[in-house]
């Protein structure tokens, strides 16, 4: 996107913004999936966490589309804003994940590195989504503060199993929500930038 000299309103195209957002959301989900699998293999085997992980995620109240028809029926403005809200609702939990990993016995550096990288890249994706939403609705960013996450379940978790489960559940929800964000963005990109002809 080289701007001709003397160009006044030189900006990155919305299509380029979408390409970067999709590349980032894909990367964030891949990392979230790897982190979940790594933690599951190392800490969750035989503890029956998966049975309990049917507990709802802190973002469940956001009423996100659960299949292709729903995702295609929702107006793209609403889907864009939904992505923004899911991203914002992960700001505090991601900070907690980074702190919590350092407190887990013998947590490998690879899990910590991924947690830090996901937190940083999610902030970067949020910045991009605010830019994209701003392109469709200048000035309407609805920057409400998000506190869907009520913090670690019980501050006074003492036994290790509950603590590991709380962490497992957070990673399970992160994997799920990052997959949703990635899927919705790829759908939005095809709809808005390629006339649903990807």
């Amino acid at each position: 996107p080289i701007c001709p000299n003397g160009a006044v309103n030189c900006q990155i195209s919305t299509s380029d913004l979408f390409d970067r957002a999709v590349k980032l959301s894909h990367y964030i989900h891949s990392l979230s999936s790897e982190m979940f699998n790594e933690f599951d293999e190392q800490y969750a085997q035989g503890r029956g966490f998966i049975m309990k992980s049917i507990d709802t995620c802190h973002t469940s109240s956001l009423n996100t589309p659960e299949d292709k028809e729903q995702a295609q029926q929702i107006h793209h403005d609403d889907l864009l804003n939904l992505v923004l809200r899911v991203l914002r609702s992960w700001n505090d939990p991601l900070g907690h994940i980074v702190t919590e990993v350092q407190g887990i016995r013998e947590a490998p550096d690879t899990i910590l590195w991924k947690a830090v990288e996901i937190e940083e890249q999610t902030k970067r994706l949020l910045e991009g989504m605010e830019k994209i939403v701003g392109r469709f609705h200048p000035g309407d960013l609805g920057n409400e503060v998000y506190s869907l996450w009520s913090g670690p379940p019980e501050k006074q978790i003492t036994d290790e199993n509950s603590r590991l489960y709380a962490f497992y559940h957070l990673l399970h929800c992160l994997r799920r929500d990052s997959h949703k964000i990635d899927n919705y963005l790829k759908l939005l990109k095809c709809t808005l930038m390629h006339g649903s002809n990807c």
Binding site: E66, D67, L187, C198
Partner: protein
Amino acid sequence: MDGESPPGKPDNIKCRSPEKETFSCWWEPGSDGGLPTNYSLLYKTEGKNSYSECPDYKTSGPNSCYFDKKHTSIWTMYTIIVNATNELGTTTSDPQFVDVAYIVELRPPLNVTLSIIDDPPHLLVKWSPPSKADVKSGWVTVEYEVRFKSKKAQEWETLDAGKQRQLRVFSLNPSENYIVQVRCKSDHGFWSMWSPESYIQIPDNFPRKD
């Protein structure tokens, strides 16, 4: 009676979705205890306490259950069990936990075509996306891999084609007969089977050196 017992435990429950819109599960029956044995698949989704029975035992073949669009939700945990029942009792499999988001396995790519290009000398491999997957709308994003080997060779060489629907292969041995296959996967899913083998004879004068 002699040699008759309740059925063995069904196991190896495996679930796959070909396009992130429907999915099927298959199971392996255990021993039938020497008696006529019936199988039933039960499932419940997140937030539900009671099990429902499989909506369609036919579409995906024997020992299977097919969930059509109406019965399929993405990003929802399904708890799935299989019961085996005969006269002497019922045995239940271990529960299988499934989220359709993570079990996508596409069909292989279609219409693989091979053509020799002269300048610069290389092989051009082209293909079409797999059937069923809705790539146009962006609901499914597909990545591809190409593998090739000369008929004489033991080892395949595999190349990442990313999201492209064609790939140029340069490093080929002149005058040899090559086998080429392509496979694909949904961005975060399982690799498909390889496409059927395609064959091509690399010309002797490949690459022409002046």
